[in-house]
């Protein structure tokens, strides 16, 4: 599966000069916990709800402070065409909960650890189903193939 196919949530992006108050309002309205920060077509940062709290509110920044003053940069990215399992490796190497997905160096979406957990749960469920049946119905034998 390609990484872009594992992205389950829509992505939202803002300009670097967006205010942190508007960024928070956008997160609330869009139901997302992070925003990509785009300067034109260039991905220059990511701002999360955690960034707004720890780097904005906790430091007493004014509500009209710019997003690029609290965002995380540079951005750790992953190619949209890469195998989804490559995302596991990237998450394992960096203390991140989200990765920016890029296609030809342009932001196209965000993938989170939650997205990977959903895929893992689906894969495990598919594996466990026949094993569970065997455990619960231990006396069920497979039919002997006919040799006639």
């Amino acid at each position: 599966m390609r990484t872009i196919e594992g992205v389950r949530r829509s992505g939202v992006a803002v300009r670097p000069d967006e205010t942190i108050q508007n960024a928070a309002a956008l997160m609330e309205q869009a139901g997302v916990g992070s925003l990509a920060v785009l300067d034109g077509d260039e991905l220059v940062g990511i701002v999360t709800d955690r960034d707004l709290v720890r780097r904005g509110l906790a430091r007493g920044l004014a509500s009209d402070a710019r997003v690029d003053g609290v965002m995380s940069a540079p951005v750790v990215t992953i190619s949209a065409d890469s195998d989804l399992h490559a995302a596991f490796s990237v998450f394992g190497q960096h203390a991140l909960r989200r990765l920016a997905v890029v296609e030809r160096e342009r932001f196209v979406g965000m993938i989170s650890i939650d997205d990977l957990l959903v895929d893992l749960a689906n894969d495990l469920s598919a594996l466990v189903r026949p094993v569970t049946a065997e455990v619960l119905f231990a006396h069920r034998d497979s039919p002997v193939p006919s040799t006639a």
């Binding site: 949530r9 829509s10 309002a25 956008l26 309205q29 869009a30 990509a36 785009l38």
Partner: protein, 65 residues
């Protein structure tokens, strides 16, 4: 996904009890492709939107507008 200015995008809630979200498409990319410039809710906040599998488009009937 293909959208036109004036269309509405619905984003399904991700958790039990979480309401759906919606926004109005203001601008689209080449051939109606994303990303879209959208306006959210009553506050009028605008942003770029990159639709995922949780989003669907309600097309606006431009002919009858």
């Amino acid at each position: 996904m293909q959208a036109s200015p004036g269309d509405r995008i619905i984003i399904k809630g991700h958790r039990i009890g979480e309401p759906d979200r919606d926004c109005e498409v203001l601008e689209v990319g080449d051939d109606g492709a994303p990303p879209y410039r959208v306006r959210w809710g009553d506050t009028g906040h605008e942003s770029l939107f990159f639709p995922g599998s949780d989003a669907t488009v309600q097309h606006f009937d431009h002919a009858n507008s």
